[in-house]
């Protein structure tokens, strides 16, 4: 399964302030009543983007100046909470192509990587600088280079980092593991044969 090699993400940024942004915030559970992921982009951060009457709030994603942004800037422990892939699906379908944060929750990180969304980390102090610069120059594009692990914004170059396994997967176009997993052939059956519980029938009881 040939996938695109993701070496660089460029585009304007949008800042979502705060630490511990959870997956219920990213996509409220009521929008998961669906059997496809289509249309989830419309509900990204829905309950903080719209008030009780459905009117847009002052959320940065509603600000025309950040329209078309492809890099989401978050805080610490971004994506904590549930394992819903609906969250990175909503991020992707909204049009965002990379997330930069101080740290990511484990399951969200894996889910986003599998969709080809690089989740890079930066230090808290650099993120503070980046937030200020984005506010001052919202139309300035950022360029994230995954092999150099840098984020360039105007004349500034910031160090970012990406876990080795995710960097390898994105750079080499194997961020969706299914192709490689299917290649294991007989190894799966051989391992399964060593586990008595694996042989049990599912119709017991």
């Amino acid at each position: 399964m040939a996938l695109q090699q993701i070496k660089n993400v460029s585009g304007t940024c949008v800042v979502v302030a705060g630490d511990d942004i959870d997956t219920d915030r990213i996509i409220p559970a009521r929008y998961m009543k669906c059997v496809t992921f289509d249309g989830l982009g419309d509900y990204l951060f829905h309950d903080v983007r719209f008030d009780e009457n459905g009117l847009p709030t002052a959320h940065p994603l509603n600000d025309p100046v950040y329209k078309g942004a492809t890099v989401l800037i978050g805080g610490r422990n971004f994506g904590c909470g549930s394992s819903r892939e609906h969250a990175p699906q909503a991020v992707f379908r909204y049009g965002l192509r990379a997330i930069m944060a101080e740290s990511f929750a484990e399951i969200f990180f894996g889910n986003a990587t599998t969709l080809g969304i690089p989740c890079v980390t930066a230090t808290r102090s650099n993120l503070n600088v980046i937030r200020e610069k984005v506010a001052a120059h919202p139309k300035q594009e950022m360029s994230i280079d995954l092999s150099l692990q840098t984020a360039t914004f105007g004349d500034d170059v910031f160090e970012v980092s990406l876990r080795a396994s995710a960097r390898d997967a994105l750079l080499n176009g194997r961020w969706d593991a299914i192709g490689e997993l299917l290649d294991a052939g007989d190894l799966v059956a051989q391992k399964a044969a060593t586990l008595p519980y694996f042989q049990a029938k599912s119709v017991a009881g």
Partner: protein, 473 residues
Amino acid sequence: MGKTLFEKVWDAHSIRDLLNGQTQLLIGTHLIHEVTSPQAFAMIRELGLEVPYPHRTFATVDHIVPTDQRTEPFADPLADAMIKELRKNCDDFGIRYFDIPSGRQGIVHVVGPEQGITQPGTTIACGDSHTSTHGAFGAIAFGIGTSQVRDVLATQTMAIGKLKVRRINVDGKLRPGIYAKDVILHLIRKLGVNGGNGYAYEYGGEVFDRFTMEERMTVCNMSIEGGARAGYVNPDATTYAYLKGRPYSPAGAEWDAAVDRWSSFASDPDARYDDTAAFNAADIEPTVTWGINPGQAVFISEMLPEPDAAEPDERASLFEAYQHMKLEPGHPIKGTPIQVAFMGSCTNGRLSDFQEVARFIQGRHVATGVKAIAVPGSQIVGAQCKHLGIDRIFSEAGFEWRDAGCSMCLAMNPDKLIGDQLCASSSNRNFKGRQGSPTGRTILMSPLMVAAAAISGQVTDARELFSILKKTD
């Protein structure tokens, strides 16, 4: 050098190293539900893949099911489409499905253990972050995304990097009126909501040795709220006694061999841990959250924290929490009026949770103006409660007794908060909007604390209301 249970289970299920350095891990038991599986089946069909080991996947319906009016079609057409899709997917691929008419439907993390599907020394994956619950049996259990649900369906394996292991000891004796829920809320408060990032938590010590399986499940369930993707307790006699005679447990001659095998997975006494943490059980008091993540918690007797006392860059989070919760720093949490009480969820929706509360609420009544609902975690838990007359005790006390499901834990069914209602909840997440209203507010606590709040109409120390301190001291 000895090994941890995590390493032993990992080694027994590792198939090979993948090119990016992750491991291809065999998933022996796969659990699915209606919310995170339909897109996975769609991808399987789209890619023309098969499900080679359908007997190792088990399904039930939990998130979207109504807990009162359950005849189909459901009033909500989206929910109705989801249950029908799951039924069709299980039929098409030959997957065992605990549907509503089976009498064995329930929250996936209640159903797995009660059916004996959850076993020590196994790997378990499910498209739900609270899959960590199953670690109570000495299994390595992960929450996964929908693409990984597809991977497990198509290959019975997934790609994952090895976790580090942090041993968490809780020694000494819990005081009367302190429950497993207080223990895990305390651990998350102390270790942080992201403290477990990159780790599996191994829980041990005297408190866990004495805990029942249901108490162990309550703690393991919320590992993910501390950032740990998996949490587990080593299997012991308590584990085996729970599993004996369950529908999917080994039986006859296979039983003894299974127990021997299970015991061999327990961490060795000289196992090396990447990190350790120790707590004294006697220090733990009834713990309640006050903010918008499970780490923002206080003892019931404490005042709410002053943002000024926090690190400067933490203050914004505290202000946001106060603004949402409409609470004041420096004030007690005790006495905060509530409008809704929710008793249930994969954290605290098991028989012992309802039994414990029933001991205390007989002859008392939910306060005027409080809506209180009790939702068993499975149809079997519901039937056991009926058999023991527990449902009647709850009903007579003014709780609405419901049918099994996730219900108001995440409000994907009709059970929701309205406006900024404040809910005393035995569930696991207090995120903004979690219980169905964007402005709704959640205070997490133990089941008995929920009952105390329901009866007094405000956040209350259950030990005082139910004279637990007087009775036992």
